[in-house]
């Protein structure tokens, strides 16, 4: 008991009620229906998925809704070998940037059903959804992406998204 005090623990806890906002709510409702919804900027014509409500390039509302398909391109990827607190995915796993057909921005997704030494840039992939009755307004509705079997996309078709 004669050791001087050298550390202080201060537990912090704050509770929020998070509002998804109009654009993200729209997107998550689309997910609950088993589809990817993007929004197009009326000025530059780019399609953003997930939509953000405002075009990050032009600062105008992205009012046009666009239904995107289930397939896309792996623009880049990495193979993760390091566990993190709370992870549930088995190591090693592939994390990739996926450019859905029709979108102008890639988003991050999990890739499965392909060995880690066969993943490559340009691989065409398709979304694997949970069973219809399990769909909800949550990204857990999309289990992962897997190779679609189509030929790889040419580098020029996705190079500007790298």
């Amino acid at each position: 008991m004669s050791e001087p005090v050298t550390m202080l623990e201060t537990p912090i806890r704050i509770d929020y009620e998070f509002t998804a906002g109009l654009a993200q709510s729209r997107y998550l409702k689309g997910i609950a229906e088993g589809r990817f919804l993007g929004q197009r900027c009326p000025k530059c014509g780019k399609v953003y998925v997930p939509p953000r409500g405002s075009c990050p390039t032009d600062g105008v509302p992205t009012t046009d809704e666009v239904v995107l398909g289930n397939t896309g391109i792996v623009t880049t990827y990495c193979v993760v070998n390091v566990p993190f607190q709370g992870q549930s995915i088995e190591l090693p796993y592939i994390c990739a940037q996926i450019l859905l057909d029709g979108a102008n921005i890639a988003f991050m997704g999990l890739i499965q059903e392909v060995p880690t030494d066969e993943i490559r840039m340009g691989m065409r992939v398709e979304a694997v959804w949970v069973d219809k009755k399990e769909l909800g307004p949550t990204m857990a509705s999309v289990k992962y992406f897997r190779p679609s079997g189509e030929s790889d996309a040419a580098y020029e078709t996705y190079s500007e998204y790298l």
Binding site: I14, Y16, F18, G21, A23, R52, G53, S54, T57
Partner: protein, 377 residues
Amino acid sequence: MAPGTRRRGPARPVAVVSFAQSDSLRREEHRNDVEMLQPVIEDVFARVGLTKDDMDFVCSGSCDYLVGAPFSFVGALDAVGAWPPMRESHVEMDGAFALYEAWTQLQEDDIDTALVYSFGRSSMSEIGRVLTLQLDPYYMAPLWPDPVALAALQAQALIDTGRYGEGDFAAVAARSRRDAKDNPHAQVKGDHTPEELLGDDYVVTPLRRHALPPITDGATAVILAAGDRANALCERPAWITGMDHRIETHALGARDLTTSPTTRRAAGGAGLLDDDGEGSGASVTVDVAELHAPFAHQELILRDALGLGEGVTINPSGGALAANGIMVAGLVRIGEAASRIMDGTAATALAHATSGPCLQQNLVCALAAEPAGDGGR
């Protein structure tokens, strides 16, 4: 001259040329930060016929803890459109301090315009707990004192000096609510007598509900322009003739909570006091003063610190008692004060912004219809 005060060379004339704000709401029910901010940005540009491409610098103020998301301020840039790559900065503070940074940048002379904005949705969290996180983590935060409790300690200390009582707090609140009726963006407005307000229950003694600010969601934006650019954009620019901010120790018990020496010193640094804010004799003379006093008793402390006389119109907007967006209300004070210059109702104005518990940090912005004759002090 006070240590740390440096008499600057002539300040480059910079003016507020546009100001926009959202309605202040108890709760923004539907839109997220970007969607709430975007129309305000659109509005502030439309008023002067400019776009983001005309801005040489963009600076914003917000606090990620309000929504509990890291880098939320970066996401808010979507409301502006950050392409081509822009010169941009951000402060985790009220937008008034972002404006100070933009004004400082404009002094450097290689830019002519700046967009300043701030936003925040206090309704999303337990705002009292969020603000407690800014306190000393060793000696204060472990007790989780909320902002009302700390303000109440200050209010009691003020009552103990004999200078003011609860009736004075109620009078400030009644006047603020009445004046807010003329402000379409304000949240708390109406006709009440001080006697009616004194019927409110105490929230934390000696502060009753009317002496507290509302919880507010909102966003605001200001455009600054320098020299001839300001004249080209606006018929009556609100020239910033000086601006300064000062902070007191964070050790609450080592401060005199009943005075605001840093507000006085900031006013001196902004060129509003002959004695640079060092003495107690000089007083500020302006037509309008927008004081960021979230608690009613704080307006009295600020008024005394600045020596504001009867001829000064205080908080014609209703002030922070009528709408208190965290991270927003200080920048709104600058915008409201500037508006009085721009609409011709005032020739001189002062805007004050505060940060930290019990008026710990204070900014004073001096505004006028004419740029300072010698370029400012």
